[in-house]
């Protein structure tokens, strides 16, 4: 599945559910929670994390307890606000797509 344009939202949503996490834990959580549907090159999560941190939606620090250098990311208050806004947009989008494609739950998922 092509996730371009949606990766930032997926990263924010996964981090909200997992709490502070490093990149590898994040990609595993993303894969498990999507039942394997979101199987993207694992390295692409790091540019997304860096971009979201640059935009102030995430904060990060080195985990001093890890045996190797490990960067842990967490949502900032701005990140939570942005996630809530994107979720609202997504609901409207999904509702519209379902209606247009005839996938309205009232008619059953054909």
């Amino acid at each position: 599945m092509d996730l371009r344009g949606h990766l930032d939202l997926l990263v924010l949503g996964t981090l909200r559910q997992t709490g502070p996490a490093h990149g590898y834990a994040l990609i595993i959580a993303l894969r498990e929670r999507s039942d394997g549907a979101f199987d993207l090159p694992e390295g692409t999560v790091y540019p997304a994390l860096h971009r979201l941190e640059r935009d102030g939606l995430l904060t990060s620090r080195w985990d001093a307890d890890a045996p190797r250098r490990r960067r842990v990311y967490a949502l900032t208050p701005s990140g939570r606000t942005a996630l809530a806004a994107k979720q609202r947009e997504w609901r409207v989008f999904a509702h519209g797509m379902q209606a247009v494609l005839g996938l309205d739950t009232a008619k059953g998922w054909a």
Binding site: A25, A29, G43, R54, A66, S78
Partner: protein
């Protein structure tokens, strides 16, 4: 996903040492990116070695585990290219954002100066209540300090400072709130992480500048005659530059405290918020 995207190697590749070779190539491709590049390579190494360790724990040979980990990570060209693009911070946006905060805080200092002056004039008038009934009669008649108060002028000064303080305070609040919404909703770049330190230094310099000007004849040149402050008459009592100096140094102190709190939060967030992490990091693979 194509083999190129996954970065799978040629069929004859034995796999062992694949992670080291991958990291070498990534390091080369991120040359010139400084600390951001080194951080990305460190993150990639942690990811790849954790993934390989997981695979080995599931029973795969080391060579196969490393080859799979590298294949799943994506080609160095793809990831390094994305990392370079992600690192291109909007310098203009950051500068605009930081300047916006400084302007808002500067207005706050100005409002604090005017309001403090208004309060001081009110207190001074209350300390000489015997002069108040005479104010209406005295009009603009000057009575030297110690024997009375230039009542009418002082009352007018107090009102002028109060009005100026409230107007500037509203402007400061509007500037800071609009910027906050711009960051959250429109995507304006946040101020750089160390911005509070820069802001503290700025207001320390500003504070000492006010102190120096209030002690020298340059004060009149910079702020006008007769103790006026940026067009608002200040009247008797403290010099406005002294108040502005204290307000600036106070703002610098608040900025330093804010920076310390942020730094502490950044250090602790992963360890002090267990309630936010009911299942997340427990999904992390076993460490090597």
């Amino acid at each position: 996903m194509s083999d190129e995207e996954r970065g799978s190697g040629p069929p004859h590749d034995s796999g062992e040492g694949r992670i080291d070779r991958y990291l070498d190539e990534m390091f080369d491709r991120l040359a010139g990116t400084g600390g951001r590049g080194r951080r990305a390579v460190a993150e990639a190494e942690d990811h790849l070695r954790a993934a390989a360790a997981d695979a080995v724990a599931r029973g795969l040979p080391v060579a196969q585990a490393e080859r799979d980990a590298v294949a799943r990570f994506g080609s160095p060209a793809l990831i390094a290219g994305q990392l370079r693009r992600a690192g291109r911070n909007s310098l203009l946006g950051s500068v605009l954002s930081g300047a916006w905060v400084l302007a808002g805080l500067g207005l706050l200092v100005l409002a604090l100066t005017y309001l403090t002056k208004a309060v001081e004039l009110t207190v001074l008038l209350r300390m000489h209540p015997q002069e108040l009934p005479a104010c209406a009669d005295l009009q603009d008649l000057y009575i030297p300090m110690g024997t009375g108060i230039e009542c009418t002028t002082s009352m007018q000064d107090m009102r002028a400072n109060a009005v100026a303080g409230l107007v500037v305070l509203l402007a400061a609040a509007a500037a800071l709130l609009v910027r906050r919404f711009a960051v959250r909703l429109v995507g304006l770049a946040p101020a750089p992480r160390r911005f509070p330190l820069f802001g503290a230094a700025f207001f320390v310099v500003l504070g000492f500048l006010f102190l120096v000007t209030s002690l020298t004849p340059y004060s009149t040149m910079l702020f006008g005659v007769d103790r006026g402050f940026l067009g608002v008459p200040m009247g008797m009592g403290l010099w406005p530059q002294d108040i502005a100096a204290v307000a600036s140094l106070l703002t610098a102190t608040v900025a330093l405290v804010l920076h310390a709190v942020r730094a502490a939060h950044s250090r602790d967030f992963g360890l002090t918020l267990p309630s936010q992490n009911p299942s997340g990091t427990s999904r992390a693979p076993a460490r090597q």
